[in-house]
């Protein structure tokens, strides 16, 4: 399956599902962080300018903190989320799915220098497009990845219909395929929906629109709706 989900087996023997975040939401989070930091710098400059040359030294220290320390401190203290990442619902995690720790966070934020080359994150963009888990070079070296923090509630996008019990027991992956169809059908053209639904005529005994409705009804039953 072409998927950005990375499955990790935990010590309890069940699998964690980490949904890798692509370049676009991460770029947006970076922009949010950038504007926040610029705003902090701008606001702090007003009182600091009263101190004359010493104030400009303090401003330089603040710039240093915002440039190098901000991301590391935020990621470590706020469970792997800078404020921008929190706004976009992203999270930096270690390879085992736990929130990022000090050294990996330092590595990924120092190597930001490399990812930011050339121009605006050229290397980083190429790396996120090539890597199966959308990691930039800093993430690869740090052994971290950026994931979507919020899990999509299961079946939220499935249209509500009167539930219809399945005539036979489906295996887990078959159930997942049926759910995926019910969730994503709305994004497909009607013709494509019918084409897919008609594959299951042996199960539903229906064709075209009726088949789609029946599959969605089955999905409602799988979701435990009344």
């Amino acid at each position: 399956m072409i998927d950005t989900v990375r499955e990790i087996e935990t010590p309890e023997g069940v699998s964690l599902r980490l949904r890798a975040a692509g370049a676009l939401p991460r770029a947006q989070a970076w922009m949010v962080d950038l504007f926040l930091r610029l705003a902090v710098l701008f606001v702090a400059m007003i009182p600091l300018s009263l101190f004359g040359k010493g104030g400009s030294g303090l401003a330089m220290l603040l710039m240093f903190a915002l440039l190098w320390a901000y991301s590391v401190l935020c990621e470590v203290w706020l469970d792997g989320q800078t404020l921008g990442k929190r706004a976009l619902g992203l999270r930096v995690v270690n390879a085992d799915g736990t929130p990022v720790t000090w050294l990996p966070s330092v590595v990924r934020n120092l190597l930001r220098v490399v990812d930011a080359l050339p121009g605006v994150y050229g290397v980083g963009l190429a790396s996120t497009l090539i890597d199966p888990h959308a990691r930039r070079l800093g993430d690869i070296v740090a052994g971290t990845m950026v994931i979507h923090a919020q899990d999509l509630p299961a079946g939220q996008q499935v249209p509500t219909l009167a539930a219809l019990p399945l005539p036979l027991v489906l295996a887990a992956d078959e159930q997942a395929a049926l759910m995926a169809f019910a969730e994503r059908a709305g994004q497909l053209t009607v013709q494509r929906q019918e084409e897919l639904a008609n594959l299951l005529t042996p199960l539903t005994g229906q064709r075209d629109t009726a088949a789609i409705r029946q599959l969605v009804a089955h999905a409602n039953w799988l979701l435990g709706r009344a």
Partner: protein
């Protein structure tokens, strides 16, 4: 067991764990004081067991997804990394960091050679052929250097600015250079080699030019104090970059991925140590080096003492028997 019965049997426990985890997200301190906290690890493991059962028995999507979500949330809490212990910072600076530097002594030696050899070469060259300074620097740069180290200045090493301003400037500038040196080592070490060599030529050039035109006194008096920390930190950052590039070029018996992660782990610690050294260097540079009125013996004596301390710290710090750790 039928799914309905399974859910009826355990549903309440799942709900209570879920609500505890949700409360933990909102009010961590208060929730941790609840009695349920003691029960968390075992009830989380039971829930993982239930998830495995539900998957194995082919229960519906609803149940497995519900359990999966709680497991994701619980995993993050149970395997939360321990809070950093601040006393370990001191231990790292005293013992761990020098040990790490010595463990990477090959890269450090190469980095030192890449920096000091060009610097010495240019320094000597400019004594023999002073006119070459004009090929290294533009005339405005030369004029600026000469103004900074003019023997007639009350403050040496700067044309204007207060101590605090220069401290901020040195931190921003020097630490950024060190961090970039380390990071650019990822390009097969080329970036680190370039930065080290270029800085060697630059520093050697300034020193050589000022010495050749007779401003050597103020210059050496200025740099001798902070040079121990600053130059060593630059070399260490460069060495950290080199070992990162080396992990990519010659990963040894590991695959490149794990080799890079290990090298990044080492490199980050070295970079943090270099950062601490540069903070000290910036402090000395801003508040001590710039004082022009001190006698030569004190300036050069303290500088030599700092060099002995830094090299002794890097060479002996954290050896068995001295710290026991």
């Amino acid at each position: 067991m039928k799914q309905e019965r399974f859910v009826a049997l355990h549903g309440r426990e799942w709900d209570s764990l879920q609500s505890w985890l949700n409360a933990l997200d909102r009010q961590p301190k208060r929730t941790l004081r609840q009695e349920q906290t003691l029960d968390f690890a075992s009830s989380y493991r039971r829930l993982c067991h239930h998830l495995a059962l539900a998957r194995g028995r082919g229960y519906s999507h609803e149940v497995t997804e519900r359990l999966q979500r709680i497991v994701q949330q619980g995993h993050r809490v149970l395997y939360r990394p321990p809070a950093p212990r601040w006393h370990r910072v001191a231990g790292f600076l005293v013992a761990g960091f020098p040990r790490l530097v010595r463990a990477q002594w090959r890269c450090m030696a190469v980095a030192a050679a890449l920096f000091y050899l060009p610097a010495l070469f240019v320094l000597v060259l400019l004594q023999l052929r002073p006119e070459l300074a004009h090929t290294l620097f533009s005339s405005t740069q030369l004029a600026q250097f000469e103004k900074m180290y003019d023997p007639a200045n009350a403050h040496i090493g700067r044309s204007s600015g207060t101590d605090l301003q220069m401290f901020g400037y040195y931190v921003m500038n020097n630490v950024s250079i060190a961090f970039r040196t380390f990071a650019s080592g990822l390009f097969f070490g080329v970036g680190a080699i370039y930065v080290l060599g270029a800085n060697g030529v630059l520093i050697g050039g300034v020193a050589g030019h000022l010495t050749a035109i007779g401003y050597g006194g103020p210059f050496w008096r200025f740099v001798v104090g902070h040079s121990a920390f600053e130059l060593s930190a630059l070399v260490i950052a460069g060495g950290a970059g080199l070992q990162l590039g080396l992990a990519l070029l010659a990963p040894g018996r590991q695959r490149r991925g794990p080799a890079l992660v290990a090298a990044g782990w080492v490199g980050a610690q070295l970079a943090l140590g270099a950062f601490a050294m540069l903070l000290v260097a910036a402090f000395i540079e801003a508040y001590w080096s710039s004082i022009a009125a001190l006698p030569d013996a004190l300036k050069f004596g303290s500088g030599a003492l700092l060099w002995v301390l830094v090299l002794g710290w890097l060479g002996r710090g954290g050896r068995a028997g001295t710290h026991g750790a």
